[in-house]
């Protein structure tokens, strides 16, 4: 299916959706959002692209193949539990670091967020894997 409207829309929607998915991912710890929804949006960005330009062209555009992206996500999620082990706590105990506390740019980073990043990649990868395998041929 070659639609110019869809192609132009997909080209512009892709970066937008990616940025949005990262925002949703970051705010997810205390507010609605999170790794799963963010991952769906990231996946949707590339699925839309694949709908407009075809699966083959999309796969050339992405750094990781979907299956590797899933594996990477799993690895990150796994690693998020490890800092707790190093400090002698049970696996997956949350650890937080705050940068620029009490300023406008307060940035809280921690292992639960890292876990969410893992979920983010895993969900996006899984979604692309499934959709691409249906969309092929």
């Amino acid at each position: 299916m070659e639609s110019v409207i869809l192609q132009i829309a997909a080209r512009h929607m892709r970066p937008l959706l990616i940025i949005l998915s990262v925002i949703v991912l970051y705010r997810g710890h205390n507010e609605p959002g999170g790794g799963f929804i963010g991952g769906l949006m990231l996946g949707a960005a590339y699925i839309l692209y694949a709908m407009a330009f075809g699966v083959g062209k999309t796969q050339n555009r992405i750094l990781f193949s979907p299956i590797n992206l899933t594996a990477l996500g799993l690895l990150i999620a796994l690693l998020s539990g490890v800092p707790a082990l190093l400090s002698g706590m049970p696996f997956m105990t949350g650890e937080w670091v705050t940068f620029f506390a009490n300023s406008a740019f307060e940035l809280k980073l921690g292992t639960p967020l890292l876990f969410d990043v893992g979920v983010f990649f895993a969900v996006a990868g899984m979604l692309m894997l499934v959709m691409f395998s249906i969309m092929e041929e």
């Binding site: 969900v123 899984m126 395998s133």
Partner: protein, 113 residues
């Protein structure tokens, strides 16, 4: 609200069973989706409805707030995610089956041995 949700759950289960019994395998997948939704709603209703309050507290000092039980919502989210995974896999499976055998009929699925 409780009554309404109970009816919805019942209707969803009913349609799911109906779809599962159809011969078309795509409808079978639809049945699985309905079954998942019905059960998520059941989980939601069975663990108690709290209306009008969020499932998390905003940190307003000195103020005690009502809150809904967040656990069922977390459980349902997990169940939805798992349901999504299984549904996606079932779709791929059914699609592959269709492209290999060129049929969606469950009766032709039975083994001719």
């Amino acid at each position: 609200m409780l009554f309404l949700l109970a009816v919805v759950i019942g209707v969803l289960y009913g349609s799911a069973v109906y779809l599962l019994l159809r011969r078309n395998i795509f409808k079978l997948v639809l049945g699985l989706i309905f079954l998942g939704h019905a059960t998520n709603l059941l989980l939601f209703v069975a663990s108690g409805l709290t209306s009008g309050y969020p499932a998390f507290l905003r940190n307003i000092a000195g103020e005690t707030e009502m809150m809904a039980d967040p656990l069922p919502q977390a459980l349902i989210l997990t169940a939805i995610v798992i349901g999504l995974g299984v549904t996606a896999f079932a779709l791929v499976l059914v699609y592959r089956f269709y492209s290999v055998t060129k049929t969606v009929d469950l009766d032709e699925l039975s083994e001719n041995e």
